[in-house]
């Protein structure tokens, strides 16, 4: 558990960090370190340099606007979950956070870091996708924004970033009357999900949903939205048979992953049951 040798830099500004990143081929950015440190210790990653973002104070702000929040890349997950406005306006994010990792991980881990890692079983990624998050990216050509769905595609590095730094995550607030939940079937060995779903429903006329957003994680090759299921459920009616068919159709388009603990086939089955049970519950509410 001893990493290979690497250079270490702790810049105080974003400009400095970006400049170091452009100089150093094979540099890794250190935020909360919940993935990188393990990779270093197990020598699964051997970057020439580690650029520590922890001294860049401008990355640590939570800024609330009229319609949403901007969460700085260095905001700790625990801090985010303690924010009163986040608790009130983003219940899905908070419910997800409570199921993600453990208190020690959340004390150091960041939302931006979780999106950059985009682990196949990631909890935060599923919530960010379901909440229509956007990732703010800083590079030599300035700042740009990318939707979480474009950012997390199963290809590493997430967003195809080269020499750029994720500086914040933007999340629009949930509608006051929206119903949402995050459900997770835990991997017994490591605690990642083997099947999970982040679901947000916005009720419309006569009990039918105006807007449906569903992101899944754990079972498929990477966390993603299920657009066909979303459109099938927009507008109703919500007969069990119809929902079941829509779930099956949505799952048909996915590639599933498996391991020693839960095969691809089981994950697919379990995700189908999870979606079916959770949707029935939310639609009945």
């Amino acid at each position: 558990m001893i990493p290979a040798a690497f250079d270490y830099a702790r810049p105080a500004t974003l400009e400095e960090a970006a400049s170091l990143l452009s100089q150093e081929g094979g540099a890794a950015l250190l935020a909360g370190g919940q993935s990188l440190i393990t990779e270093l210790k197990q020598r699964r990653a051997s970057p020439r340099a580690v650029i520590d973002l922890n001294a860049i104070t401008e990355l640590s702000a939570i800024e609330h606007g009229p319609d949403g929040v901007r969460i700085g890349a260095m905001v700790r997950q625990a801090e985010l979950l303690r924010d009163a406005t986040v608790q009130k306006r983003l219940p899905l994010l908070c419910e997800t956070g409570a199921a993600a990792g453990d208190p020690m991980i959340r004390r150091l881990g960041t939302l931006a870091g979780a999106l950059c890692e985009a682990e196949p079983g990631g909890d935060w990624v599923a919530a960010a996708l379901a909440l229509d998050a956007e990732v703010e990216i800083y590079g030599k050509d300035g700042t740009r924004r990318m939707s979480a769905a474009d950012f997390v595609t199963g290809v590493k590095p997430a967003g195809g970033l080269k020499g750029e730094i994720v500086t914040a995550v933007h999340l629009p607030y949930q509608k006051e009357d929206s119903r949402s939940t995050y459900r997770k079937v835990k991997h017994n060995a490591v605690g990642w999900s083997i099947a999970s779903a982040a679901i947000s429903l916005e009720p419309g006329e006569g009990g039918a949903c105006r807007k449906v957003r569903i992101a899944v994680s754990g079972a498929p090759s990477h966390p993603q939205r299920l657009p066909s299921l979303e459109s099938a459920l927009t507008g109703g009616p919500y007969e069990a048979g119809r929902i079941q068919t829509a779930i099956e159709e949505a799952l048909q388009g996915l590639t599933f992953r498996g391991d020693h603990y839960a095969s691809a086939g089981y994950r697919r089955t379990r995700l189908g049951i999870l979606l079916s049970r959770t949707l029935q519950e939310l639609l009945a509410a």
Binding site: M1, N188, A189, I273
Partner: protein
Amino acid sequence: MNAPNLNTQQHAETGKHTGKAMRRMEDTRFLTGRGRYVGDITLPRQLYAHFVRSPHAHARILKVSTEAALAVSGVKGVYCANDLQGTRDVPPNWVLPGSQVKGRPALAREIVRHVGECVAVVLAESPEAAADAGVLVDVAYDPLPTVFSASDALQDGAHKVHGDLPDNLATTFKTGNGGYDEALEKADREIAFNLRNQRLVPFPIEGRAVNADFDPATERLTFYTAHQIPHMLRRMLAGALGFPEHKLRVISPDVGGGFGPKMHFYPEELTLARLSCLLKRPVKWTERRSENVAATTHGRDHEMEVRVAVQKDGKVLGLKLDSKANVGAYLSSMGTGVPTINVALFALGVYAIPHSDVTITCAYTNTTPVDAYRGAGRPEAAYMIERVMDRVALELGLDPAETRKRNFVQPDQMPYAQPTGTTLDTGEYAMTLDLALKNAGYEGLRKEQEEARKKGRYLGIGFSNYTETCGMGNGFILQFVGFDRGGYESAVVRVHPDGRATVLSGSHSHGQGHVTTFAQIAADELGIAPEQIEVLQGDTDMIPFGIGTFNSRSVPVGGSAVKVAAGRVAAKMRRIAAHLLQCEPDNVLIEEGIFKAADGNGTVTIERVAHAAWTGHDIPYELGIGLEETEFFHPQSMSSPYGAHIALVEVDPETGEVELKRYIAVDDCGVIINPLLARGQVHGGLAQGIGQALYEDAGFDAQGRPALEPSIPRFDMLPRFETDHTVTPTPTNPLGAKGLGEAGAIGAPPAIVNAAIDALWGLGVRTLDMPLTPERVLTSIRNAANKETEA
């Protein structure tokens, strides 16, 4: 002997200090980060080791290239088997007579036989340099064909693990009184099924750790190691190394969990001791988790076929067991003993079964050596016989509790010699089961199960009435079964001139809390508070020959040694006090460090008595000097703890998920020294047993590499345990205590699996294998449904 019928609640007050739920005195140190483990010990001129290990399960070593590694700054050398001339293979310490013995080589010669086997070792001035160089040692291999399971290894034409062993056979063991076929003739029917007791990775939080320090000036070797049995290790290490045992000192400081694997002697230990002697410098190694799962011994791994001949009233007339045990690539310390003796002797559990035929065949395979892990053979036996009991009940439409009662050995039959070779010393099995049924609210549970079934919910109730034996007995018996160890334990009790006491013990706590329990035992004898007593263990220079901690033996044997030694010191103190008080020793009372004559005529303090003892002042010459006694407590036979466990599960038939809703444990470990620590032992054992039932296995991949992340249960994966005790004291030691450390791990797996099968019996599920992963359970449900459709 007909043991008294006592429940703990009435029996807890065994002494002034014993029987009390005293908090652990050692916890302040541990909880404030002041534990001192081998990894915390760094010596002057320290060298650090990094082992280069085989990624192959079976391969010929073609070439080891060390140039790049040697070029790393700070590297002292890279060593292979050739550099360890004169070193024997690590020999097993328990060899069933007639076994084919293959010990573990210190470093592999020519062939590697399991993933994780040591091929070379890098020594460097820093751990960083050792790790950097370790990845640069380039070993060229020619992979050879592999065999991973015992049943495959025993097939004709199987690939050979050792070239000179044509059949991969380590040993075959047979026991029982025979006559199964006769029993079958008298029986109403036969029930036969197969069981798998899967391989487990023991996974202590602290891995193994070694610091070997040869001092050329004194020609002594001080060997720090995270170990359960320091004296035994000294003997085994001295033998393999050819080092004079009296100049070898083994120190095992705080140990962060053992569960069995830390009582074995390992190739890394032998290699590092040899290299320290060669280089005359201390050499340190702390195991990485990836090494722990691949190179530290595994547990269990039996494939069983069982048949029972039964009457329709549930009475079992005969049992036939054929088990294939996987010992791995080499014999580890308890070699062929654990999979044979420790399983076969307990195959009949707590039941009077007239006829039995037990055969266990041990096979070499290309896997990590298998050795004792919490329970060590008894979980395999209990799993089999307890699965049998529930299966018999389900097949015959009987209640599983009632079926057990019809088969129990009765209290008036005690001590009861099982025809498989073990003797049950005490036990009131029906009483203990009745308490478990009461605590569970059994009748209500069955109603709840019925009601739930109507709503499409699948509840199941499972039982386990395990037994085992603990402590190790007479050395003669150990010799008879090829176990090169004694069955005794040592203790020294010394009262200092200030009236405080030291207890030296040959047991060795690796989390059990001996500092507290042994102090409680000594305190009752000496008439002082436990806080006035320091318990020291784990240093062979300081402590008389001992055997160490395993087999749930520390309290029954080690604690008994403390009691006997302390009792003799107390008798001596009474004689001195009697002289000072001018009365008869029998009339001297001691309480809280004050001696007084029974007639109330004057008092004398323990300080005064101890001062007289250590100076010879004020006392006649004949009373002799000192307050110190050594006891090697040597039990005649072993004690038989037992228990009745009940599990309530709910199975989701759509997902296959098994939820453990309640766990009711009633354990009988005889007299309890500290109820709080006893509960802790039960909880820990249950957690590991539940881990085996629901979550864990070694998870070998197709190349024979164990999974890096075993599914060990965390507290959020466990229910609140409902524990209780009955107390039938054992006559085999003066404490009446039986041993409890392994009980939970032995009792839990069958109770849970039985519960899951009970839940799904109506769906046509007849058997399930551990671990009960949702996928496996769901597959069984679907297969049963398909069968029904076909039929």
